[in-house]
Symmetry: C2
Subunit: 114 residues, 2 copies
DNA sequence: CAGTATCCTCTAAGATACTG
DNA sequence: CAGTATCTTAGAGGATACTG
């Protein structure tokens, strides 16, 4: 999870914005959630969808999402290992938020992503 | 502006999400935008609303928002200096996005901001 | 297959002091 | 009033190698 913001002073109305951003910030979290909206995925399925992410980073981002109770990590006790990642109810409730971000980007970021 | 993400590979559907996050990430940007939705504000008016932000940081965040064409910086050539910050049309179009973040936070972050 | 373990870099963010 | 200029630090993110 990114650093915690504004923790030590009276919370103004903008705080829930920051709090929510804290959960979905993290370089790959938005994309991970986006792909999990579609379907449950295994670790390596996620890896294949983001060729540039390192194993370490993918693990880290997934652990943070799990810690924030946005995704569920299900381990099957088999060999070879099998781990599935899916959205929790809380995670699924983020869909409109992610979509709002996506829609804005689709409209206003065309040829502006640098 | 935070680092640029995913720039060197084929953009999957999650990218506009990241692009948008890049613009509103930054520890104080969400809050700054939130306050500018209400009304145009001067530099020190913004400062007073966030007692914990340093001058340097406020300036930095404002400059980035301006560079991304989300806010407009209007300098009045008077002494003492007077500078007003207001939303651009592009910035105002972010309101539903920020509100989506805020609403989610209000609902799901109660007593969970840590 | 799904991870850890190390080591490293870079920069966002903060503290503090000064100024046209 | 609305900023710069320096200096510092924490930790996000990355590269690479190894493993139950």
């Amino acid at each position: 999870m990114p650093r915690i913001r504004h923790q030590n002073f009276e919370c103004n109305a903008g705080c829930p914005v920051e709090g929510t951003l804290n959960l979905i910030d993290g370089k790959w979290k938005g994309v991970i959630l986006y792909h999990l909206f579609e379907k449950t995925l295994r670790f390596n399925e996620l890896r294949r969808r983001f060729p540039d992410i390192t194993q370490r980073m993918l693990t880290k981002q997934l652990r943070e999402l799990e810690k924030n109770e946005l995704i569920i990590r299900k381990v099957y006790p088999v060999i070879p290992p099998k781990v599935e990642y899916s959205l929790s109810e809380r995670g699924r409730s983020l869909e409109p938020v992610i979509m709002a971000l996506k829609n804005w980007g689709d409209t206003y970021l065309v040829d502006k992503l640098e």
